[in-house]
């Protein structure tokens, strides 16, 4: 182990690697964003050792990393917290590796920690290779293909309708009940609707220049039968309110319960 390797030595070692390595080294320093985290950076740095990852010198690597961080700080590059945490941890690891083990200290030894870091690097590297191999495989839609005109299963939904005899009889009973019920429906003969009243009044209003009693506006034949009269009065009153709202007539009532009187509006222009 070249334990004495300092950050300066790392720099010189880069210089001896030739132009390509130097360019790579510069890229390392300037482009921190190009790394996907401290582990990725460590993996890249480890390549400069040109050894099997299993034999990588973790101590040397730690120094390389710390050197890199120092350089980045000098260049006032913003470093993500991850990188600084790793730097602190590697500084701790370095001290553990350099100092003789303290028997009173708890926790894993420097060697154990270093071995785990080496394992992590090897594992990451292996995953990188695996992903490259995976992506190099023949791929569906690129190298091999599925049926271009799939004939999908058509789902035929067959609906059967059903009814029971009881349904049938109840339906008939319902209709027949409606027949017996018809007199109620016939009631509409005794109903004078507001629509009807409006129609009637619109036709007549042009002739109502003078105040006239609302009751005189009831349709013929509706005045005598009390049921019919009530309905016609209500409808005519409602219709007169509508017309007053529309500005076509004026309404007045002398006192409470006095007859209501109506007449066409004087200006008459609003007639339609």
């Amino acid at each position: 182990m070249s334990d004495e390797t300092s950050t300066d030595d790392v720099d010189t070692s880069w210089e001896t690697e030739g132009v390509e390595a130097r360019l790579a080294a510069e890229a390392l320093i300037v482009d921190v964003d190009g790394f996907e985290g401290p582990l990725d950076l460590l993996l890249t740095l480890s390549r400069t050792q040109k050894v099997d990852l299993r034999k990588v010198s973790v101590l040397q690597l730690a120094e390389q990393y710390l050197g890199f961080i120092e350089k980045a700080k000098e260049l006032r590059l913003e470093l993500a917290a991850d990188y600084l945490v790793m730097a602190a941890w590697l500084a701790f690891l370095k001290s553990r590796l350099l100092l003789p083990p303290d028997p009173t200290e708890e926790g894993p030894s420097g060697e154990e920690l270093a071995a785990h870091l080496a394992f992590q690097l090897e594992r990451l590297s292996a995953m990188r290779e695996a992903s490259a191999k995976l992506m190099a495989r023949d791929q569906l839609g690129r190298d091999f293909f599925a049926r271009g005109i799939p004939e999908d299963v058509t789902r035929i939904r067959k609906v059967t309708y059903t009814a029971t005899l009881l349904d049938l009889m109840q339906a008939y009973a319902r209709i027949k009940t409606k027949d017996e019920f018809r007199p109620f429906v016939m009631d509409r003969e005794n109903v004078f609707t507001m629509e009807q009243a409006l129609d009637r009044m619109r036709g007549l209003i042009g002739f109502a220049g003078e105040w006239s009693d609302l009751t005189s506006w009831l349709p013929e034949g509706w005045e005598t039968d009390p049921v019919k009269r009530r309905s016609a009065t209500a409808a005519t009153f409602a219709a007169s309110l509508e017309l007053a709202k529309a500005g076509q007539i004026e309404l007045r009532q002398g006192e409470v319960f006095a007859p209501i009187q109506i007449r066409k509006r004087a200006d008459g222009d609003r007639r339609n």
Partner: protein, 223 residues
């Protein structure tokens, strides 16, 4: 011709083979793959354009077609193009049938009941009894179900068609004869007529045919 080297980097060393079309067996494979993967039927000209120079897709198609004779899929001609299709006799595999049972709509059951009790009956009469117009679809559905059928034309002006119930209807409802249907008195005795609907019950908007029925009633509440 040199572009072939681009598309086939693993070509054999002899120079000749570079310019020779692939063996017919190989061409057949190619046609097979192209027809399979293509989203549309492919013409011979298109095959030619995609296969190595000198290929004869028309001949390859003859072999391929033969190879698929009697198989589960067929090489078929579509216009002047070619495609792979499921063999006609296996079409049933491409369908999945699901049967769903539903209750007849109220409009349909009422129409059916009227036909059963009043047959032979015209559409106008059905409408008069129900108090609403009968939609074409309701009658069609009952005819399709083979529960009602056309009876004789009525000898009245317009000679309207009548409807009667079918044997199928009688079978379904376990009746020997439509006359076996319980009469009003029996319905009442059975408690089926006891419940007079409360005023306004007709206006329940649960039946599409019904919307005309309570016209007068609705008018009362309009505006």
């Amino acid at each position: 011709m040199t572009e072939e080297t681009d598309t086939k980097p693993s070509a054999p060393p002899e120079n000749d083979s570079l310019f020779e079309a692939p063996p017919m067996g190989e061409q057949e494979r190619m046609v097979e793959a192209i027809l399979f993967a293509s989203a549309e039927p492919i013409t011979v000209r298109e095959l030619e354009a995609r296969m190595p120079h000198g290929s004869d897709p028309a001949e390859a198609l003859v072999y391929l077609r033969k190879r698929y004779e009697g198989r589960g899929v067929q090489v078929v001609k579509v216009g002047d193009a070619w495609a792979v299709r499921t063999a006609g006799d296996l079409g049933f595999l491409m369908q999945k049938e699901t049967v769903e049972t539903r209750k007849l709509s109220r409009a349909a059951i009422e129409t059916l009941a009227i036909v059963a009790y009043h047959q032979p009956v015209t559409r106008a009469e059905i409408e008069e009894i129900r108090g609403v117009s009968v939609s074409r679809g309701t009658v069609d559905q009952l005819i399709e179900m083979e529960w009602i059928r056309f009876g004789r034309r009525r000898m009245t002006p317009g000679r309207p068609v009548t409807y009667v119930v079918t044997q199928h209807f009688l079978d379904h409802f376990g009746l020997e004869n439509a006359r076996d249907l319980p009469g009003l008195k029996e319905l009442r005795a059975a408690g089926l007529l006891d419940n007079r609907p409360p005023p306004g019950a007709d206006a329940l908007p649960d039946d599409e045919d019904e919307d005309e029925s309570p016209k007068g009633q609705n008018e009362l509440f309009e505006d």
